[in-house]
Amino acid sequence: MNNWVVIISALLYLGILFGIAYYAEYRFKKGKSIINNPYIYSLSLAVYCTAWTYYGSVGRVSTHGIDFLGYYLGPTIMSALFWPVLRKIIRICKTQRINSLADFISTRYGKNFSLGIIVTIFCVLGIIPYIALQLKAISTSFTILTQTSGAGSFAGFWKDNTFYFTILITIFIILFGTRSVDATEKHEGLVAAIAFESIIKLIAFIVAGIFITYFLFDGFGDIFSKASQSTELQQLFVLGNNTSYSSWTSLVILSMLAVVFLPRQFQVSVVENVQESHVKKAVWLFPLYLLVINIFVLPIAFGGLLTFGNGTDADTFVLALPLHYNQNLMGLLIFIGGFSAASSMIIVETIALSTMVSNSLVLPVLFSSTGFKASERSVRSTILTTRRLSIILLLILAYVYDKAVAEHFTLVSIGLVSFAAVAQFAPSIIGGIFWKGGSKNGAMAGLIIGFIVWSFTLVVPSMISAGYLQASIVSNGLFGIEWLKPHSLFGLTGLDSITHGFFWSIFLNCCAYLFVSVYSKKNAQEIYQAEIFVDIFKHSSTQDSNTIWRGTAYLPDLNSLLESFMGKEKAEKILSNYATRYKIPMETKRADPRLVSFAEKVLSGVIGSASARIMVSSVTKEEELKIDEVIHILRESQQMIELNKELRRKSSELQRATDQLTSVNEQLKDMDTMKDEFLYTVTHELRTPLTSIRAMAEIVHDNNDIPEDQKQKFLSGVIKETERLSHLITQVLNLERYESGRQKLTSSSVLLNMLIDESIESIEALANEKQILIVKQMPDSMFIVQCDADLIQQVLNNLLSNAIKFVDAGSGVIKVSVHLNHDEIQVWVEDNGKGIAEELHELIFDKFFQAKNQTLKKPQGSGLGLAICKKIIEMHHGKIWVESEEGKGSRFIFTLPSN
């Protein structure tokens, strides 16, 4: 295919990438973030699949068979641990404003900047070959597609297309990766572009797979049955050909660790994470992506082996197969897919490394040097320049490595060495977030030993085979010492070189980390950070308001420090927002310790925690805290939380008690007025009969001459009024007894029918006298109720005598009936009297209601009857009410619960 077609296509593709990144940033400025989306997050994690996946997996199959799946099954296992592990790391990074792996480790172990430097150097050395590998993939695929002469004839970088691609990618990274000094700010455009690249590489690879499997061959079955005819190829169907269970397991573990601790993975999964909850989708979407992209690896590999035999470099099968059948367009698509896989990795890895190099390596050294002053106005551009320069430097290093060393190796072998490098961070990080005992010295010892062993067992051999070191080291051991052979350290044989190197480095690393941690002393800062990291879910809510800083600081100094890093406007906004939130006075010249802590944290986001500490201490005078003081502060803040909870509980209890008291008081007041009213009406009621008694008695007393029959009349009047008086008094006493609760119910099972019969009997004489008809209507069944028979009888009597009072003599009809309604028995007493107005339906059950309504025609009775009835029924847990319309009679109903 023509050189220029390929170059223009690649340029076009890069143009689209620029467009997407630009659009995403544009949208973000409008307030609509594209990357704030769990699907974009999951896709961005797929930056794990590099050119190594794209071309290298197939290459690996041709020599090692199925074991390439270990690289993707490891991450699948790890994604189950995303929830417990990754989410914790994300939370820590968000609250502590951490933006790189190096910063994470250095912050955890007391913001120690030498640890940050070690991690950074380690990362750069471990990852540069990996970036070089991507460049190699681009150049190799380019060579195959254009069918120009092989990579061996390197004629100077100005004639090398990879060189120009590298420059373009560098521009892209600088444009979209170093926009803001605050490295905790998300790279909107970049992440959007990465997610897009993940889609492109997936589509391209699947298209290639379908084409090779179903068009060049006749499906999976066909390829596999053809391959199975060759005993040589058959061996690739199982583990055991160049691989063993031990190397399979080490591969799975290596890739498990890599998927979290590779700088690019840390960048996309932690630093670029917008919301913690996105992890939930990624947990299953990310492994699903890995599964899909791997389905066709085996068919492609066997297709290639069947077509080309072992003659062609298996790394190139994906591309070579379609080209072999003259499918140039398909070849171009596959090239673009591989290009996207490689470029996405380069972009993210470089960003992550440049943040580390600038924040953990260059800036701490720069800031702690005596000549540097924080107030220099150029400080922001210094940071950005440092970051840009480190990007350029990293890519130059990768390019040089690619040209000088990488040409000698297959894709996979380089990648695995990088995996083993980042796996060295696992003890310090995993230990750091779950074990408070991990110390700075332990982490340092572990990392250094791991690094040395890794270099010796994995890097030295590759240097030897590239011709930079003497081959005698491998055969005779270092300095001729037998047990210092890189491939069989301390005499351990039987493992392949990666497993061997990984085993020794991680084993010694863990031992050093654990033992040195246990046996070394920790300083106050370390203890504090350990507490924060391990118990992050407990602390993240109180963290902002609690601080262990003590010393003297002046607000203007702090302000100008922040200004020089963030710009005047932003610095002021951040500080005043924080001050308002925690009600910190800003007028004083002296800065509140919380503000100092906060400023340090904000600066950490820009220049890393170690540098931030140096910067803040340069403008403040800090007193050193002793260990027991730190512990005291931590415990205090814990106790504060407990105390706070207790206090809140107590105060809500108090509130409830107050409410109760208020309502009781209201009741009491009501009752008091009721009592007054009652007393008033009672006396009033008592006076009425008393007045008439006195009047009649006076008449008889004063007039001796009145006739005998008249006298008799007055005297019987006196007797009647006296009866009424005593009746009234009895009623009042009764009512008082019911209301005070002194009346106890003497419940027994009573036959309601009998009770009603008795009541009617007792009142029948009166009814007959007025010629009133009493009708009884009862269902056939017997009703047995649990009640105080005397009291219920009283109610019945009351209702009946009331009815008799209100119906007209001669035409009056009273009907008594019993109804069963669900779990209660209703007794109805109906009459055809003059009825009761609707608005009085409730009032008539009040005490002395009649007396209070003098407009009503006053009939006989105390006015307490219905009030007493109501009280009695309520004591039986029943209800009493009236249904009536004026002029249409009334119906009194009371209910008793049935058993």
């Binding site: 699948t76 269970y245 397991t249």
Partner: protein, 71 residues
């Protein structure tokens, strides 16, 4: 409580997966045998993989049960 429960589920899944993908269970499928012409190890690994994704999907997306509603 809810979070702890989920953490336990995920940790269990990862241990189970690790065991399914290690010696000795793996050796049962690691033979030159075929299932509809497709190598048995290949089928086994993809089946475990698919099963893992399904399990992760169910665990990640499950809503907290009624019991946890008050938390």
């Amino acid at each position: 409580m809810k979070d702890k429960n989920k953490r336990q589920k995920f940790t269990l899944i990862s241990i189970l997966l690790f065991l399914l993908l290690s010696f000795p269970i793996l050796s049962a499928a690691n033979k030159i045998a075929y299932w509809f012409h497709i190598p048995s190890l290949y089928v086994y690994l993809f089946l475990v993989w698919g099963f893992a994704i399904l399990l992760l999907y169910i665990t990640a997306e499950s809503k907290p049960g009624v019991k946890n509603k008050n938390e």
